[in-house]
């Protein structure tokens, strides 16, 4: 009974290690392929990265402005009411 279980566990090991390696090897090739594709079609330098911080900064500014406007309106209303 016990040897049977051990044999079963060894089968798990073969299957598990096989799948882990298979997955990672496929992943390695997928990553290499994507690096090649990206390197070809989006050469380094014109990355969209610099635009990102700008938009977030702009949106932060916008929200700050909106907050200021809202506060001003509120203040005005309070004065009236």
């Amino acid at each position: 009974m016990e040897t049977n279980l051990v044999a079963e566990a060894i089968k798990f090991m073969v299957l598990g290690m096989g799948i882990v390696f298979l997955f990672l090897i496929v992943m390695v090739y997928a990553l290499k392929l994507q690096a090649k594709i990206i390197g070809k079609y989006f050469p380094q330098g014109e990355t969209p990265a610099p635009t990102k911080p700008r938009t977030t900064e702009a949106s932060k500014e916008k929200t700050a402005k909106i907050a200021a406007i809202v506060a001003a309106v509120q203040h005005h209303k309070n004065l009236k009411g």
């Binding site: 279980l5 566990a9 990553l31 994507q34």
Partner: protein, 438 residues
């Protein structure tokens, strides 16, 4: 107008009051059964108070105390030992965990809540670990259904930078080799007499990945969860102690001094598409692991997209902190004497250690093999194989430290991060394989 409202309110009160008095009149017999208060002398009062103290509970075990279970129907009668010495021993163990966390700095973020939860779970009479107790509620909320580990994975994804892996994808193979710790110790656990499901749950400790261990333990062997989680986290904390001797034993001094070429620059877009690529692969090959890998990729994708910084920030900080507290306390509830002080715990501790050591060794050996086959300008320092067990980023730091012991100018940290994050993916894949079997 106002008078009308007042009158209707009065009427309402009147009706409520009368119905209530009728109801209490009907319920009178039940109240008799409930508890009738008798006059007591001060001595009697003191005595009855004494019977509700911890001192009494520890010294006078009774045989109608049930174990605290997250589901009341699973409860069994606690043995005398569990009620007395068992609880005290567990509280002492928890105090020792405090010592490790505070004085030694071993994974304090997890050991502190786990150990405190452990103390709470061992308090007699209060039933904090039961279905309606605080720990029981937390346990049912997120551990019994495997939810918290997934949230943690999300946060880990949001904190992880895949750049080193993208720069040198081959390093991922080392993350695979280290998973031998899991499957090797699976065989070991079966030899020791655990059934296949428990053995699988225990062996995941070798992946050095706390959330994954909890996720799997919960599916395959919930009764061993406490011991598995504590073993997993304590060995992760012991990475700087366990790994260096193994790394040194398996490598020559010349090998440890190998310098690796500088990593190439990685395109931002590669970082952005990586979680999607991994997720697609997981969907195609093993959907069973997609809860873990999916949560991980979600966190990483949000981080890399750069447009949802607030969400990514929440995952990396507030969310993961909240979940860590709950996860720790929930796991701590499994440190109750009746669950932890069983023979299996000892076996789990031993197998966990072997699993961890085997994973480290397999990673280093694999790195040596890869080094033999690589060209002179692409040398691989075998030490980085040790980072193939996940334990991000501790394992990579240890590799870097050991490398610098032999050559101050040799910085291996970034090189080791590659296998390190591959190890996270590898152990999630291994977990998926084990789940797919059962």
């Amino acid at each position: 107008m106002n008078k009308k409202i007042l009158a209707s309110m009065l009427l309402l009160f009147f009706t409520l009051f009368t119905t209530n008095s009728f109801a209490s009149a009907n319920a009178a017999p039940a109240e008799e059964v409930k508890h009738e208060y008798h006059e007591k002398s001060l001595g009697q009062l003191l005595e009855s108070f004494y019977k509700t103290t911890g001192i009494y509970a520890f010294t006078n075990p009774s045989d109608d105390v049930m174990t605290s279970e997250a589901h009341a129907e699973d409860a069994r009668v606690m043995t005398t030992f569990e009620q007395t010495w068992g609880r005290l021993i567990m509280i002492a163990i928890c105090l020792f965990l405090f010592y490790l966390a505070i004085a030694k700095g071993f994974e304090p973020l997890l050991l502190m809540p786990i150990a405190f939860g452990g103390i709470l779970a061992n308090i007699p009479l209060a039933g904090i670990g039961g279905e309606t107790g605080m720990l029981g509620i937390i346990y049912n909320m997120g551990i019994a259904n495997g939810f918290f580990p997934l949230l943690i994975f999300m946060g880990v994804g949001a904190m992880t930078d895949f750049t080193p892996l993208l720069a040198n994808p081959k390093a991922a193979i080392l993350g695979g080799a280290a998973q031998f710790g899991i499957f090797g110790s699976l065989v070991g656990a079966v030899v020791l007499g655990f059934d296949l499901q428990s053995a699988s749950a225990i062996s995941i400790i070798g992946g050095a990945d706390g959330p994954t261990s909890i996720f799997i333990a919960n599916r395959l062997a919930p009764e061993l969860l406490g011991a598995i989680a504590v073993a997993a986290y304590s060995y992760m904390a012991l990475v700087p102690v366990i790994q260096p001797p193994i790394m040194k034993a398996l490598t020559s001094e010349a090998e440890r001094k190998i310098k690796m070429p500088k990593l190439r620059k990685v395109h931002k877009l590669e970082n952005l598409t990586l979680p999607i690529v991994i997720l697609l692969l997981a969907i195609l090959f093993l959907p069973e692991s997609t809860p873990l890998i999916g949560a991980f990729c979600l966190g990483n994708f949000f981080k890399q997209s750069g447009v949802v910084e607030r969400l990514s920030d929440t995952m990396q900080n507030s969310l993961i902190n909240i979940v860590t507290i709950f996860l720790g306390l929930g796991v701590g509830s499994k440190l109750a004497a009746d669950k932890f002080l069983v023979l299996e715990t000892l076996g789990i501790m031993v197998i966990g250690l072997i699993a961890f050591a085997a994973g480290t060794a397999a990673g280093v050996i694999m790195a040596k093999i890869m080094n033999k086959f690589s060209s002179d300008e692409n040398k691989i320092n075998p030490l980085i194989g040790a980072a193939g067990v996940s334990a991000v980023p501790m394992a990579a730091r240890v590799v870097s430290k050991v490398g610098q012991e032999y050559d101050k100018s040799n910085v291996l940290l970034m090189h080791a991060m590659g296998p390190n994050v591959a190890g996270v993916i590898g152990s999630a894949v291994a977990a998926g394989v084990l789940l797919s079997i059962f």
